[in-house]
Amino acid sequence: MSVVFWKELADHFSSRRFMILLAIIVLTGVWAIYASGQSIRQEAESAPAEFVFLLLLTSQSGGLFSFATFLGLLGPLVGIMLGFDAISGEYARGTLSRVLSQPIYRDSLINGKFIAGLTTVAILWASVLLLVIGLGIVLVGFPPNAEELWRMLIFTVVGILYVGFWLALALLFSLLFQRTVTAALGSLALWLFLTIFAPLIAQLAAALIVPDPSTPEGVVRQVDIANMFSRISPSTLYAETVQIVLNPLARGLGMVLAEQTQGFQLTPLALSQSLLLILPQLTTLIALVAVCFCISYIKFMRTEIRA
């Protein structure tokens, strides 16, 4: 397996595709951080905020999107780009039967490919985050504290997991469709559906189940149901997780009425408490990656390899 792994890793890092992805991510990342950094500096003079570094990642006051949103948007693209031709590409080049007629176990090919993809993503994400921290120190003028570092680390791991899901999905599609283009378009279509249409459909479904949200209870119920439905989509899971991890002040994910928070003093949550809040999302995300990969694995082990 390690032979396949190293070859795939080398292929990823020397491919033009990877260079383009790297350029896009670095450019948008730097721009987002710079924009939010500027605005934070202005605000900080009046009221210095706690957790400035986390604010740097989540504030969208300067630009169009915050850095965290950007990574959430680009992540699936990275996953799909790295995975969509994993198997179908070998098929198209006619190399699959040649490689599989070598004395290796069949699963070492798919395992090697998946782990190489995941490693590529991990290296990419880690380097982008380091870049951001460096840039942040320059912009803000002081280093992040331990709590912030931990939260950023978790943010990175969750990001890698999320991209891992799309990688596994693209891998599955590259197995199901023998044509590379179909595999790429299929995964992109699913991405669009899960990210853009799934929340809309969730709201529609909630409106059907609770048709009359005239009471406050009704409103809360409707929002809760919509949230439940939209959590089918890994994009929602990721967004919610990031929202809690990067914002210690966040209390929960459901809707909170103004009456409920009256008399509350908003203090930041401890890291462990924040983690507790997102535990379901995190486990679901991991499960989704595992399920996706397992389907590909089983399918790959059973297909007949024709030249």
Binding site: V3, V4, K7, D11, S14, A92, R93, G94, T95, S97, R98, V99, L100, S101, Q102, P103, I104, Y105, E304, I305, R306, A307
Partner: protein
């Protein structure tokens, strides 16, 4: 001598289609076995089963003494397989492609380097090893494929249509390479093809498969006599001069079973040697004989006969 490849009642079904039907195949050590058949006859499917790349519905196969369904790795260690239209990683050079395969075979780096240099030299790509495979011609890729199956120093080669899509010169270079290798290293070779002429020249034995069934197996000349129950005498007669009426006289000769007009003469299928009669007939009519040639049954005749019957 022992059988390197042996199958008994090997069968593969795809839903209601029987791709390979009760196939019995035996390839002895050191021989070149030609596996012939039209497209879709089940050649590739059989080969995939021999390598454990697909599972048989029923029946048994043994390759180098191992069952490919249950011990595919042992088989793949010992057998080099060149698929139809082998593909390579286009961005990598010929050397790098070979190196990857060498590493998948767990060949130590130094040893792999030595073998790659030697093999590239042997197949005539010594100067092109560092070029990207993208720039290779079809024939070069095919030769690189041969080098690739040899890198693990196999006991047997299984080559699926090694000459497909090559020009006659390229095809005969590949086949010469294979023949040479088999003789030099005592390699057992199973090759599927429909290039009948070359196969006839290079194979020790052939098997003909049509619609999943092995319909004939043996040495080429034996196959001929099996197909055409009694020995056939075929002659080509070409004459010059006034030929009108000659055709019916030829047909009337005792022993001439069939007659086909060719460009400048006739092709005679006979049950005995009619050459003396033909000669005297020609001289009696005062014609000059351009040629009188005996034509043996070729593999193509055998092949066509089987195709039509199946």
């Amino acid at each position: 001598m022992s059988a390197v490849v042996e199958t008994s009642r090997l069968t593969k079904r795809y839903r209601d289609l029987v791709a390979v039907n009760d196939l019995n195949l035996k390839v002895e050590e050191g021989e070149i076995f030609g596996f012939l058949g039209p497209n879709g006859a089940g050649k590739t499917t059989t080969i995939l089963m021999l390598l454990g790349l697909t599972e048989p519905a029923s029946g048994q196969a043994k390759v180098c003494g191992f069952d490919p369904t249950h011990q595919p790795l042992e088989v793949k260690k010992r057998v080099g397989y060149l698929p139809e239209n082998p593909g390579f990683y286009d961005d990598l050079s010929g050397q790098e492609n070979l190196f990857y395969i060498a590493r998948l075979n767990r060949i130590p780096t130094d040893e792999a380097r030595r073998r790659i240099t030697r093999l590239l030299e042997q197949i005539g790509l010594g100067d092109d090893g560092e070029r990207a495979v993208r720039e290779y011609s079809r024939g070069m890729k095919q030769r690189l494929g041969i080098a690739e199956v040899l890198i693990k120093e196999p006991q047997a080669l299984i080559l699926d249509e090694p000459t497909l899509g090559l020009d006659p010169d390229g095809a005969s270079r590949i086949l010469d390479l294979i023949t040479g290798l088999s003789r030099e290293r005592g390699l057992t070779v199973l090759l599927s093809s429909h290039m009948l002429h070359q196969v006839q020249q290079m194979c020790h034995r052939v098997g003909i498969i049509v619609k999943g069934k092995m319909i004939a197996q043996g040495q080429v000349d034996q196959l001929g006599s099996a197909v055409f129950k009694e020995r056939q005498w075929n002659f080509l007669v070409e004459v010059e001069g006034r030929v009108d009426g000659l055709e019916s006289e030829l047909r009337a000769l005792h022993g001439v079973a069939g007659l086909e007009a060719r460009n400048r003469g006739w092709f005679l299928r006979c049950t005995r040697d009619v050459r003396p009669e033909v000669l005297s007939l020609v001289s009696r009519r005062g014609l000059s004989l351009l040629q009188l040639r005996s034509e043996d049954t070729t593999l193509e005749d055998i092949y066509l006969k089987y195709f039509r019957e199946a």
